[in-house]
Symmetry: C2
Subunit: 304 residues, 2 copies
Amino acid sequence: MTLTDLRYIVALAQERHFGRAAEKCHVSQPTLSVAVKKLEEQLGVTLFERSAVDVKVTEIGRHIVDQAERVLREASQIRDLAEAGRDALSGPLRIGVIFTIAPYLLPSLIPLLAERAPRMPLVIQENYTHKLAEQLKKGEIDVAVLALPFVEQGIVTQPVYDEPFRVVMPSNHAWSGFRELTTQQLQEEPLLLLGAGNCFRDQVLEACPRCAHGTGLQKTMEGSSLETIRHMVATGLGVTVLPAAAADPLVESQKLVAVRPFAEPAPSRRVAIAWRVTYPRTKVIDLLRGAILDSHLPGVTPVG
Amino acid sequence: MTLTDLRYIVALAQERHFGRAAEKCHVSQPTLSVAVKKLEEQLGVTLFERSAVDVKVTEIGRHIVDQAERVLREASQIRDLAEAGRDALSGPLRIGVIFTIAPYLLPSLIPLLAERAPRMPLVIQENYTHKLAEQLKKGEIDVAVLALPFVEQGIVTQPVYDEPFRVVMPSNHAWSGFRELTTQQLQEEPLLLLGAGNCFRDQVLEACPRCAHGTGLQKTMEGSSLETIRHMVATGLGVTVLPAAAADPLVESQKLVAVRPFAEPAPSRRVAIAWRVTYPRTKVIDLLRGAILDSHLPGVTPVG
DNA sequence: GCATATAATTGAAAAATCCTATTCATCATC
DNA sequence: GATGATGAATAGGATTTTTCAATTATATGC
């Protein structure tokens, strides 16, 4: 029993004529004739009563033809589903973003995506890099926005932008006299840091190696966010390093803190998108990359 | 897209492994692999995300697999329907019976059929021979019980029994002294006849040719039934001819009328069943024939 | 009887299906 | 990094199925 067979018997029941039914199905009369007979043999029932003058559907044939119509309806639904899903830009996209990017990127990214792919609902979550890696591999999210390096089996990445780090301090701080700061200077002051697990913490410590095994002046704010740390700086509890997208808007809005760039070679991070090699909706990846760049995060430079 | 393809993707979605899914479908891994790929191409969507470590169903794939399961469920219904209908002795049987047989045959026939084919609902109607012929040809009834001769395009008949005619008269009638009567005698008395259209009327007139263009003694009871005529005889309005099955029970139950056979050669009718040559449920025909014979109509002789 | 209409049958060609063997890609281990 | 193991894709060939054109068989209508 094939879907073709079912189409044949439905047509035959409608036309009550082998020739016309065959024509309707774009096959020859013998083809349809043989197929119907074969199906009847397989099912072990006579579906049609043939005579030279006309073709009648039997009692059981009527029921089976009705059911065949139901099967064909459901089957054509499959094509419709495929039709609808063919557009890579429909169907939900599950995005994961690391904590130190999400609050600065998402407010502009989400409306952009919603506008460019209106039939693609967004399911977004913020998390640590290692959690996002797990979720990517399990297929719980489709794509992640995070900082390089990021090497995982079966996951590919594409850089999107480079983001320099900034020093943020109370506005009355001695350093605010400098146009630029060096990584060396950082160890002289109490440096507020994110808790373990945040890749940005590691990157800051990497940029200022002496801080890492250091003078005891750095203070880890376990469980905090960059925003919390920013407020702490504003109240004079210390200085910190923020990525440009987090720091630069403060220049205008926040008179309590001063923001200074690093002297070259300025530390920075490379932000990328990551997805399973096998992920089929490559168009969505391109779209996402474009939308991130068009979000115009302050201070960042597109890559590639 | 074939039902096989759908079975493949359903199995693959369950197993998340081409090899195991193929095994489950009793085909080789490449067969399933190729079929799935082909289906994906046809639909224009990726249903599965393949990787060496495991196979994931895509968003759209999930929907399509669900729909495929629905299609397969409906399709298996077809087999079930066929299974149920394979038994020729299930599904309604539409029987037509001529007016002059029905009242005597059906009371015993119906319970017999109901017992022998409990899953075969009976749709029974009484009518004239020419009406039954039409309905047979249109497929409105499946089988008819009637008197021969009956020649129609595309219809075959099988004799079931011969039924002699009887003379029925008021019990105080002069003829009741005879053991047998001849057809010649009939013209001497007012003979009550059925209306035109009843084949039995024609057969009686044929048996007694002189009555036909006759002495004016026959009275046509337009619109009446044999039962009506029987009551009229009982009240002394005339004599009549009835088929044995109608007449013989009166010998016991009806003291107001006398029943006499004809002298040889006794007029009789041959009762047969008729169906379209193309009618497939031949078992039902046999069953019906057997049940009619086992109804033990009084005075009749089985044929064949 | 002959012409017409219709379904079944035949026989050959085309298409598809399916399998075995092989290759390719990925990942894990040394 | 190299090597081996696992799992999916590909290639090639045999088999089966499907299909069609031509023909036959059957019933109907004139």
